[in-house]
Subunit: 255 residues, 2 copies
């Protein structure tokens, strides 16, 4: 496959590396910022383009990996006729792409991708397409990139995106809050690494609902009171502590 990567951010960079490693040819990288476009193009053994009008029409696949808001702007400046064009977003409908080609779809990486990554993690890919032929082409392309490839339509992808927000963005925020708390209180955040890993890895064997521990699930008021007394100095943390503890205590089904 001859591929054009549109974008120079985290998703463009890591997706590009994955594609190159899997033996495909990236022929062009588009980026508004010339320095960024040149840098990524060079690392992906491709040419750099800085105007949408200059993007080649001769590729097999165009991958738009830009912020959700920027997708529409790209599409309005790009027409590739019957070549396949995809975006990589969890929350944007594939239909925004139909101005750019009659064949369009989605290649959604369900992973938190950062340019800094040295080793690529496992990246599950969710595929959608404007018709069965496009889907089938994208499914076989994606299976050269990842062992975990599934189909997901717009609504399913949006739900996966919500699940990712809860289990990754929000957990990362809790890690960040914990790190700052530890710094303020001069306790060793690193000592929590084994606990954090164990909690994340255990869910592959046991349902997390069955593995809940801590004062909230035990309804251990005396410990909770001791915690809240210290958290009086941290109103944001206290608010989150109370909200999540009540939710755990009520053993809330999310309905």
């Amino acid at each position: 496959m001859n591929i054009v990567i549109i974008g120079t951010g985290n998703v463009a960079t890591i997706t590009g590396r994955l594609i190159l490693q899997s033996g495909h040819d990236i022929i062009e990288v588009y980026g508004r910022n010339e320095t960024a476009a040149l840098a990524l193009a060079q690392s992906l053994e491709a040419n750099a383009v800085t105007h949408t009008k200059a993007i080649t029409k001769e590729a097999d696949l165009y991958i738009i990996a830009v912020s959700d808001d920027a997708i529409k702007k790209i599409v309005s400046g790009l027409f590739v006729k019957d070549k396949i064009i995809v975006h990589t977003s969890g929350a944007v409908s594939k239909e925004v792409l139909k101005e750019a080609s009659i064949n369009y779809g989605v290649l959604y990486p369900l992973q938190s991708l950062r340019k800094e990554m040295i080793h690529l993690p496992v990246i599950p890919l969710f595929i959608d397409g404007s018709d069965d032929e496009v889907k089938s082409t994208l499914l076989s392309f994606a299976s050269t990139l990842s062992n975990i490839v599934q189909e997901a339509n717009d609504l399913q992808r949006l739900k996966l995106h919500i699940a990712a927000v809860f289990s990754s963005n929000f957990t990362n925020h809790l890690y960040a809050l914990t790190e700052t708390f530890c710094k303020h209180e001069q306790i060793d955040f690193k000592a929590l690494y084994p606990l954090i890993s164990e909690t994340a890895e255990r869910l592959k064997q046991y349902s997390p609902a069955q593995m809940q521990t801590g004062p909230a699930i035990r309804e251990d008021r005396s410990t909770i009171e001791k915690h809240l007394e210290i958290l009086n100095a941290y109103p944001h943390l206290k608010n989150i502590y109370t909200t999540l503890s009540e939710n755990i205590r009520s053993n809330a089904e999310p309905t």
Copy 2:
């Protein structure tokens, strides 16, 4: 060291296994419930006792691994003179033990321990003692059990416990909520495993505050609105989503 384990729950079971593996002798296991006491005693190659009065006075170390509320009850029925007695709790002062011996302290495992565990995870141990000699004895004992051994007084241990609640109990609850959401919406929770692992492992290399991704940190209102529309069917999730998103957006320092 000749050791008595008091308790038959998760912490008693896993601590006992760790101690046995490290080449110490567990001479007795105490549990009120005879079946549980016999089962754990057998697996730890020890004798079972079901009355505190019957616990031997001849051990070097007594480890109370019972629920916080039960520690006092145990202590009131046990006097071991100058033998070292410890509890394993993050939130209970070591001073509750002084009725039972003049030498007392804490052996706090900063890990989420479950009987079901087949492979023992890395278990950081935090030590406290009634005097320097007790501390020193416990530090060298703990270093036979774990590569991560530190001292922590009552207040430091309580703060570590709070940090553990945020980074383990609360993240596990978010995993549990996500799993239930996925079941209800018939999307594949397992597809999130690589993302969850990556988020947890990455903090060992990069500060989580620097690695925050998702719609809240991008202030991506349009995606947040799409999420909230679906979460209207899940009031508990919507409440948590809103609380944590606002907290991320305000990029709140925990002060």
